[in-house]
Every structure is written in structure tokens, then in C-alpha cells.
Symmetry: C2
Amino acid sequence: MNTEPQRICLVGVGLIAGSLGLALKRAGVTERITGLGRDPQRLARARAVGAIDHATTDPAEALADAELLVLGVPLGATATVMRELAPHLRDDLVITDVGSAKGCVVDDLRTVLGGLPAGFVPGHPIAGTEHSGVEAAFAELFDGRRVIITPLESSAGAAVSAVDWLWRQAGAEVTAMSVAHHDRMLAITSHLPHLLAFGLVDMLAQDPDHEEILGYAAGGFRDFTRIASSDPVMWRDICLGNRDAVLEALGHFRRDLEQLTEKVEAADAAGLEGVFRRAKATRDAHKHGFER
Amino acid sequence: MNTEPQRICLVGVGLIAGSLGLALKRAGVTERITGLGRDPQRLARARAVGAIDHATTDPAEALADAELLVLGVPLGATATVMRELAPHLRDDLVITDVGSAKGCVVDDLRTVLGGLPAGFVPGHPIAGTEHSGVEAAFAELFDGRRVIITPLESSAGAAVSAVDWLWRQAGAEVTAMSVAHHDRMLAITSHLPHLLAFGLVDMLAQDPDHEEILGYAAGGFRDFTRIASSDPVMWRDICLGNRDAVLEALGHFRRDLEQLTEKVEAADAAGLEGVFRRAKATRDAHKHGFER
């Protein structure tokens, strides 16, 4: 396995894989970036914006001399896509993905391939916008952002180095951790907030006065619900793919919300102020961390 | 009562009242803006940034020839402040406020004054930031934003006109509605989201790994929790001041969250996607409304 792979194959060229292609082209470190997908028009757009050098709908052609494969498809499509790719995977191919949950991707590859290839190193760039598709891709998406990789017991050291190298070329900082730790962290910081935002806007959507009510919504509501404009299919897959950790976070939050409700019911001014103060102090202390 | 009041008294000069002062000075329509408060240093800062022309800690002096009084104090301070002002209120004084809940302000004035003065017209500018204090004030805060006024049965027509005129001079659009309708709408679009954001960050704050977890939080989390950086005392007062409507919104949301949890538990892909699609469609349709 080449720890500085020159021929990259992007499977599915949306916001994340498309931005990775643009970032690698910006770095000028790759020989060729091939886009593999089912929709020729979408691939043509990816080539038009410069995210890939070459496009094909044929897995055999795409993987003929690829050194590293990036799975950039929605979580729910992982198994189907891997079944199509399976006959063309060489032992020295490095494989990574960009999914927002890692346990389900590992399970899918294990099932489809009958075991985990040494070249497989799961990954997750902590970056994105509420937009989707290669039209929303940009080379700077990963600049200074973190990418989590979750090397498995089966992962070859060279494959870990190759995936680490790939993301650093794209401008990101790379950190390694376990699959379980990743999935628990992301359930709290990303998956639960998305569920809450979707849930709040859906509650409003069912209010007969929602047109009027939204007319009076201010900046706080706008920012709080920005993530409710995210792709519904992608988030359906994430919530189900990371189901156990999401349910744990949901349960925890629902218990906290019950306590908060009791404080409002009891007009417990000191109790409410305590929660709000602790929250503000925690967020203010980390503000610059996630605002970089 | 003057329907175009020239001498304005701002009681409490924080973000909202301070910005109103700056906006009125920008419009050049007032003769004098007096700031009344307890803290001379804070009043000096308000004069230094140009939000008021004159500062005093003496209610008698502040109200001697004022035509319109704007109560810009936190909701929890309404009753205390009104008790101090009561001896100095003339019958032809127009009185308004900027509180995020209206029923509790009306109750406080009725109790303290032994009835509702004809000059009183509650108001609420739908504008603000997560920052507080006159240092965060700016003249453009209300430009193109909505101000809700809730005229009471006791309100004189001239007082309603004066408050309407005031906010239009500050650049805002003014709409009138009932106290109950205001309080229900704001519970949904503002008070509930604040409780959820405070609650989520507080849940994180109590996690032993919260330092690390926050290090991986991305833009979605940053925007979702921006309102958790708001002033804890102000939001304690709002949640308790608008308790009935907040509890109704909380109850509604908790039932919806229970259903969402059941969908995740049951791996109900179609059900989850339906909620997410409806939420995205509703938010996208209104995006430009609250992003102006």
C-alpha cells in the first residue's frame, strides 16, 4: 500500500467527496482523481467544477489502478455500493469513507466482504454545510477542520498512514479514536441536535398558524434551525446507522428536559438560572474552538 | 399624549434600549433622550456611545417632562422598577416596554399601579443578539425587523400611535396583536428553542468528556447552541414570566420527541424521513423571511 497514494477513486461525488477532490487538486499532490457513480450527468458536473479528472460509471475501470478509494455515498447506500465494488477490490487498495457514523459502515463492510480488508480505515471529516451535492463543494471546506479516523484491529499501518496523509493534504487535522467513542461523541454534538432541530420545525409545521408564527421568528430561531434544512435522506440514514448512540443521547436529553420542565413548573428561579449559567459558561469557554 | 413624542426616557439602557436610543438619534426625530438607571457608570457608558443625551439616577428628574417612557429592564425587575417610578408618572405619559413576554408585564403594572394607565402599550421588538449591555448596542438593530405591540383594552389610541411612531422611526415594522397570541408565538419560536439549547449544552457540561467532545463540535452545533450564550438571568425571567405558554410548548415538544424516539427505536425509516422532509420544506420555504 502506498502511504502517499497518487491515484484516488471517489465513489459518489457529493459535497464531501467533491470538496475533497477540489482540495487535493489545490494541493497538487495526486496523479489522477477518478469519480465513480451511477449518474453520468452528476459525474459530468463534478468534472466541470474540477473536483475530479476523470469520470466513469464502471467499477472495474475506476478501480483498475486506483491506490485509494474514498466511499462518499450516503450511509444507507454503503452495503449496496460495496457489493458492486467487491469483485474489483485489490488487496493493496486503501479504503476509507466519510460517513457521520462509523459502526454501521464497519458492519456493512464486514457483512458484504465476509471480513474486514487490511486496507480499510474508516474516516469522518467534521465539516459540512446544510447544502448537498457537488455544486456546493469547495476546496477550503476542510481547512483547519478535524477529521476523525477510527483504525480497526484489522487495519494495516500503511493504510492508516495513507488516510492520514490524504486528509492532511486536504488541509485538515487528523485524530484517531475508537469507533464507539466516535459514535457516542457525534451522537451528542451532531446527531441529537439535528433531531431536535428537525423535531422543532416539524412541530411548527403542523401548527395551523405556522406561516404567521415563522414570520415573527428572529435570528435565534434561524440559527437554531439551520440544520433542519439538511438533507432528510442523509439524516435518516445517520440516525438509524448510529441508532444505539443516538437513542442513548436522546434518552439522556429527554430526562434533562423533564427536569427542566419541572423547574419551570415549580417556578424554580435559582434552579433554572443554574442550568442556564452552566450552559453559557461551557459554550462561551469553547466558542472559539468551534468558530475557527 | 403626543403621538410623535420628542422627549424620551429610557429606563435601563442595555442592548435593546441602547440600540433604540442610537436608532432614534440616527433618525434625528427627538428633542432629548434621557437614560434613567441605578448605576452611574453604566449610564456614563450609554452616553459615551451616544445612546442617550442625558443621564440620571433620579426618577423625578428623568420623568419631569418626558413624553414617552420605554421600560428596558429585565422582566424580573419590572415590578420593582415600576414601584420606584409610580409616584412620578403623569396621566399623559406614554409607557411601553421591550419585554420578551407580555402577559407578565401587564400583570406587574396592574398590580403595582392598582390598574392599567391609558398611556400603557406593551411592546416587543423581535430583534437582539446573544450579547447584552449597551456596549453591544447598534443603531441598525431594528432595521426592517418586526416590533409587536399588544394594545390593551385600557390603552388610549394616542398612546398606541405614539409607540407605533417610535418604532417606525427606529427602522422597524410594527404589528399589533393580543397579549395571549404574542406569548404563545414567542414561546414556540424563541423561548422553547432557548430552553432546548441551554438544556443541550448543560447536558454536555455535565459529561466528564465534555472538553474533548466540544473540540469535535462543528458548525451545526455552533449555530444550534449560539442562543445558549444568552444572558442566564434574562432567560430565567422570560421562562418564568411566560410560564404557561412555555410549559405548553415544552409539553408539545416533549410529546413530539417521544414519537421521534419511537421512530428511531423501531428503525422506522419512512417515518423519520417524513418528519425530516416536512421540517426541511417548512424551513426552506421561510428561510428568506427570517434571514432578511
